[in-house]
């Protein structure tokens, strides 16, 4: 019997046992679907992060406390406003420097209230980190120097606190103190999972007083010239190196942030794929189980086929091909549903999902391999059945 003939016999048998075939396939469908869907979600998250980091602009350097390595506990920042001023002076025309501290705070107005992210920033923040002003103006040097109680609202923060009313010159309360709104920021959307529009900006010095600290969390340095970015980073390292140990701060470029985030997300994607892989394995065990039941239920069929002239390897091959074809069908259906669900998730839910070719190919390949591995045992058992005993079975 040729291989094509085996496939034909297997397909006929699969069709003749439709319900059981469907149930067998189901486990594989779910397994392959999970692999495709979860890897798509992992890749989608990676794409969102990449877009978010790219949004920062390519000339930006981030100076963060600690060594910023995956698995390392975050370090308490020791940066101060003096560092921002020093860096600014040293870099001159080559770059502009800003600093920020942030905390979740309850913010109230006469017409609304919200728990949101309050960020203390220096005057250059609007240009360095790109916060274009929609109305009014941003915080200026004198606001910072005198810790003046003024605030700039993100687009949705303004909406939430004041509804349709123009918030300029109105009052908000943060931590029991009143601030005067002097400007609003253009809508920006969210980046890296942070809703930038809900943020409220106040002078860095005012924020330090409000939070009861004297340090700054993060420094931002925007180089004037892309070609000079390495030089700028060197200067930053020199200036800060006089004050801090080399393990107390790190300078991250856009590429480095992408690298760190990418590694974290690749790990996440792999973990998701592994979990889904387990469900595929369970599907495979299901196939093996149902194939064994099938062999046992079809004992008489096997006996008959042998009586009619089927040889042991032909029976084995029939059941093996059946398992492989079932898993192959399951793989195709699973890949199709996985792709479909990824599309639906991406389109209609906040979960980002991006189907990757390798996950579809891998999941389908694994499902066929599962058919081979988990089909062999039942198939060999079928092939070895003694025709006389098999035919006597009721």
């Amino acid at each position: 019997m040729s291989f094509r003939e085996s496939v034909r016999v297997a397909l006929t048998a699969i069709r003749a046992n439709r319900l059981r075939s469907g149930l067998t396939v189901l486990g594989v469908v779910i397994g392959v679907m999970s692999v495709v869907l979860l890897v798509a979600v992992g890749s989608g998250a990676r794409a969102v992060v990449t877009a978010g980091v790219e949004d920062l602009g390519s000339n930006l350097l981030l100076v963060a406390p600690g060594t910023f390595e995956f698995g390392q506990a975050p370090t308490r920042s020791q940066f101060t406003l003096g560092d921002v001023e020093d860096l600014s002076r040293q870099l001159g025309e080559r770059a502009r420097v800003a600093g920020s501290i942030a905390s979740g705070e309850r913010v109230r107005s006469d017409t609304g209230a919200a728990f949101t992210s309050v960020i203390g920033v220096t005057a250059d923040f609007t240009d360095v980190v790109n916060r274009p002003i929609a109305r009014g103006e941003f915080l200026n040097e004198s606001d910072i120097a005198t810790a003046r109680r003024v605030a700039v609202l993100g687009a949705s923060a303004a909406d939430g606190l004041f509804g349709g009313i123009d918030p300029i010159a109105r009052q908000i309360t943060v931590g029991g103190l009143r601030y005067r709104v002097i400007g609003t920021v253009e809508p920006l959307g969210s980046a890296l999972g942070v809703d930038r529009d809900s943020q409220v900006y106040i002078p860095l010095t005012a924020a330090q007083r409000l939070f009861g600290i004297r340090t700054i969390d993060t420094l931002f340095v925007r180089g004037a010239d892309r070609a000079d970015l390495d030089g700028v980073a060197e200067t930053v390292e020199q200036v800060l190196g006089e004050r801090f140990g080399s393990d107390e701060f790190s300078i991250l470029s856009q590429d480095e942030i992408l690298g760190v985030a990418g590694r974290i997300l690749d790990t996440l994607t792999l973990v998701l794929a592994a979990i889904a892989g387990i469900s595929l394995l369970v599907g495979g065990i299901g196939v093996s189980n149902i194939m064994l039941v099938s062999v046992s239920e079809r004992t008489r069929e096997i006996g008959l086929r042998k009586a009619l002239g089927a040889r042991t390897p032909e029976i084995t091959r029939q059941f093996l091909v059946e398992a492989i074809v079932l898993c192959g069908i399951g793989g195709l259906l699973g890949a199709a549903t996985g792709i479909g669900l990824s599309y639906v998730a991406d389109r209609f839910t906040p979960v980002p999902a991006q189907v990757t070719g390798w996950s579809v190919a891998l999941a389908f390949g694994v499902s066929v391999a599962v058919g081979v591995i988990f089909g062999v045992f039942p198939a060999r058992r079928a092939g070895r059945l003694d025709p006389v005993t098999a035919l006597r079975r009721e």
């Binding site: 019997m1 003939e5 034909r8 016999v9 006929t12 069709r15 003749a16 046992n17 008489r300 069929e301 008959l304 086929r305 042998k306 009586a307 009619l308 002239g309 089927a310 040889r311 042991t312 032909e314 025709p387 006389v388 035919l391």
Partner: protein, 245 residues
Amino acid sequence: MPSASTPDTVLDEASVIAVRDVTRSYRVGERAEGVHALRGVSFDVRPGEFVAIVGPSGSGKSTLLNLLGALDRPTTGTVHIDGSDVAGLSDTRLARLRNLQIGFVFQQFHLLARTSALDNVALPLIYAGVGRRARAEQARAALEAVGLGHRVDHHPTELSGGEQQRVAIARAVVTDPRILLADEPTGNLDTATGNDVMGLLERLNAERGAALVVITHDMEVAARAPRQIRLRDGRVERERRESPA
């Protein structure tokens, strides 16, 4: 009266089946003794002959038929089928022998469910390596030969018992074997249908020249055969042969 069935007879070249001093024991559980289903049986079947094997339940008829059908090997003694000693054949050769030279008809029909009559009949041809077109043609011809040319696409559940057994008979003769073996072929049928089925088997036996061995405990069925072998407790108790017409 000539006897072709004494244990001393030398192997007859003209026999399609030659059984010599055959025993068959089954090991059952831990018992060393086992069940002696056959205790020394010898006889020959000539080409085109029609033999009935009768005997009470448990006398070893099915065990004997399995040996004649190359489904099983004797514990001691020899079974020659179509000139070959079954004990000396590989599993592959035995499968080939069953495929090409032997046609089985069972009491329970043993048709594949949810499979058309045509595909059921074509089953042995798959293992004979016949191509798809030729298979369909030969299977259709076999179904026509048993009077079921109008039922090729029907599934077993859509056929009466008699029709199902006819499909099984078509399947048995589709490879044009030299030997037809039937184990209680009328056992699941009413008398009238059983008679039709026996008539069909006899006609195929006569037309195609295939030896026909029918196991039955129905004396009326047995009486249709020119030669009867009666088994009791695993031995040939009596053999009766009508003198050739």
